[in-house]
């Protein structure tokens, strides 16, 4: 993250909502991606069976993660891949830096890796004087804008083409006023080709690593990972330890569900299987924990580690679509980010599980059947108990606990609320009560159910 965030989700969402047209556009664009996903998955009668299988395979991975990691390591080493272990972000970043130093490289080209966002790799290397260029088009655009990605699959989904034209005018020297996607993409193509041809070290993410064969798979539509890794002398792949799958045949399941869930495509254009380095070249893989073993120990939340980063939960989420990825102030936004981030820092990300209507749409589209909305609900309880709930919520929840614990308090509170809503709505619907910002006042009933019952039924 390029800046320290002091605002919480609600405040950042409020900022995003200042431009209503943009919110509508953002909402509709992402919903369109969700619709493409629906059309695609409905063509497979076995879709639900694929989700069940994927979820069960991932559960087996979590139950055997130690054995599979060791199996992967020994097979990868036998294949000529250098394997590194990092317990946290700092160790990961140090390992990347050491590989760059060993190869006397001051520049690196990177393809999409949410893990390196999570680890703050770009900032770390930049402080060491290493130039990193992101090669995924969307990531390059947000990098030029000095912003983090706002979506794990569509990094610059929050940007309008005119803004991208302006960025390319400033940084890549095109004439001002261009906003044609074809022209802008061609500009980036020419700019990034030069980068691909001149960088000796390339870093990629990992979509899947296979224990039985010691290889890893990287999926892209642009081909940036494939060009970069195959031209460079040194290929570094950064991988969260949960990306492992047991056998190659399991890729049959995961490659069928990944892109259909992400964009509605039947598969990404490129699914590269890296098994052995080419002659005279180096291939490194960094296995990163950074909180994953902690999450593994949280029984209610460990299923979040099944995530294959398709982004379907974001595209469908009514809160994400209307608040924008940056409002989540964490490397991974949306519903899945909101159950992953509190594990890393409950205080800093304690607001995120509250950024949901708990409608459950995320769980319904998740290709590995993570119970996302249930975990959001459970995180709220953990966060409140640990004392990290937003202050306003803490006060109102205390008041509610008191009211619900006392019958007379409950009666009085009910009477007061009905009176206030009827005669003095401004007392609750004002700027001090954020709940009412985008809501209409309900019509208050004349009496409570208890009063009504006493009048109408008790006499019978």
């Amino acid at each position: 993250m390029s800046e320290i965030n002091l605002k919480d989700h609600a405040e950042l969402a409020h900022d995003f909502n200042a431009d209503e047209d943009r919110v509508d556009w953002h909402d509709e664009t992402l919903w369109w991606v969700r619709v493409k996903r629906d059309k695609s998955v409905r063509q497979l009668p076995e879709w639900e069976a694929l989700r069940d299988a994927a979820s069960a395979i991932k559960l087996n991975v979590l139950a055997n993660l130690d054995t599979y990691l060791l199996q992967f390591e020994s097979n990868a080493i036998a294949n000529g891949i250098k394997v590194h272990w990092a317990k946290d972000a700092k160790e990961h970043n140090d390992i990347v830096y050491r590989i760059l130093e060993d190869n006397r490289a001051h520049r690196m080209v990177k393809s999409k890796s949410m893990l390196t966002e999570e680890c703050g790799l770009n900032e770390f290397l930049s402080e060491k004087g290493i130039e990193v260029i992101d090669s995924d088009l969307g990531e390059r655009i947000v990098q030029l804008a000095n912003e983090p990605p706002s979506h794990i699959v569509l990094p610059c989904i929050h940007k309008k083409k005119e803004e991208i034209g302006e960025l390319f005018h400033t940084h890549l020297g095109i004439p001002a006023g261009n906003s044609d996607p074809q022209f802008l993409t061609d500009t980036a193509r020419a700019h990034l080709r030069e980068i691909f041809l001149t960088r000796k070290v390339a870093l990629t993410g990992v979509n899947f690593a296979i224990a039985e064969s010691g290889e890893f798979v990287v999926c892209t539509n642009e081909g940036n990972a494939d060009i970069a890794a195959n031209l460079a002398n040194v290929h570094i792949a950064s991988m969260g330890i949960e990306k492992l799958i047991p056998e190659k045949i399991h890729l049959g399941i995961f490659l069928r569900i990944l892109t259909r869930s992400a964009t509605g495509q039947p598969i990404t254009t490129y699914s590269s299987h890296f098994k052995r380095p080419a002659k005279g070249k180096q291939m490194h893989i960094i296995l990163v924990d950074n909180g994953r073993t902690e999450q593994l120990g949280r029984e209610d939340f460990r299923n979040s580690l099944k995530c294959i980063r398709c982004g379907a939960c974001m595209n469908t989420c009514p809160v994400y679509r209307r608040s924008g990825g940056h409002s989540y102030h964490s490397a991974i936004a949306g519903p899945i980010g909101s159950i992953l981030a509190p594990n890393l820092n409950m205080e800093k990300y304690g607001d995120l599980p509250f950024a949901s209507t708990l409608c459950g749409s995320c769980s319904n589209v998740c290709p590995v059947k993570i119970n996302i909305h249930e975990q959001l609900y459970k995180w709220r309880q953990v966060i409140v108990k640990a004392g990290h709930a937003p202050t306003a919520k803490k006060i109102s929840m205390k008041a509610m606990a008191f009211t619900l614990a006392s019958p007379s308090g409950y009666n009085i509170a009910g009477k007061t609320a009905r009176w206030v809503l009827k005669y003095a709505p401004f007392a609750v619907n004002n700027r001090l009560n954020p709940w009412y910002l985008h809501r209409d006042m309900p019509v208050a009933p004349e009496m409570s159910f208890k009063e009504w019952y006493e009048v109408n039924r008790k006499s019978n």
């Binding site: 991606v33 087996n60 996607p181 039947p266 490129y270 120990g297």
Partner: protein, 204 residues
């Protein structure tokens, strides 16, 4: 912490925190014994931006490429029979991937196609150089008519998936929709992908 310490720490923590045993599901029922449909492969390939030609021999292929991309081009093929048909072939002795940057059309073999997604499987030994299928301006791939599998499940059981140093499923030209979800072909890699289906000569 040293590398060895971190490894030990991670493995130990997993042992302490992992859930109880759970077995792998049987996924064999997803496989079919059917042949893949060439028609479906063709439809999906076109839907993802590729094009398809049915050819009887390599001369036909070279003439189609001439018509599509113009005749005076830098072409490259690691396939000797095709290389000798090319007017201005790029030296096959070229060993560095960077030298392929100016290749206009690369013509390579693929092991098979996948009907459900229009992808072909290409292994390192078919690429000449690993960078070739990604760095060329246009990609042409040859598959045999009878080498199409229905889904990815059959793909991973194909003999070509048993061993390779590097390989890729490739489905159509390089693409991006990062700018306002507008689809643009030719993001970094090939601007077009043509699959040539070599018709099997039938002797009756």
């Amino acid at each position: 912490m040293s590398q060895a310490d971190s490894k030990e720490w991670i493995i130990k923590r997993i042992g302490e925190n992992k859930p109880g045993p759970s077995s792998l599901p049987d996924i064999s029922h997803f496989e079919t014994k059917d042949h893949g449909s060439t028609e479906k492969f063709s439809d999906i390939l076109k839907a993802v931006g590729g094009s398809i030609y049915y050819i009887h021999d390599f001369e036909e292929l070279v003439s189609v490429i001439g018509e599509k991309h113009g005749k005076a081009l830098r072409l490259y093929s690691p396939i000797p029979e095709i290389q000798k048909l090319l007017k201005q072939p790029v030296d096959t002795e070229t060993v560095d991937g960077h030298d392929f940057e100016n290749v206009e059309v690369a013509i390579i073999n693929a092991h098979f196609g996948v009907a459900e997604n229009g992808a072909v499987w290409v292994s390192h030994d078919q690429m000449g150089n690993r960078a070739v299928p990604f760095i060329c301006q246009h990609l042409a791939v040859i598959i045999n008519e009878d080498n199409i599998v229905p889904t990815m499940h059959e793909a991973y059981h194909h003999r070509a998936l048993r061993n390779y140093n590097y390989g890729a499923f490739i489905a159509g030209p390089s693409k991006t929709a990062d700018i306002e979800q507008s689809l643009v072909l030719g993001a970094h890699g090939p601007k077009s992908m043509t699959v040539f289906v070599l018709l099997v000569q039938k002797h009756y």
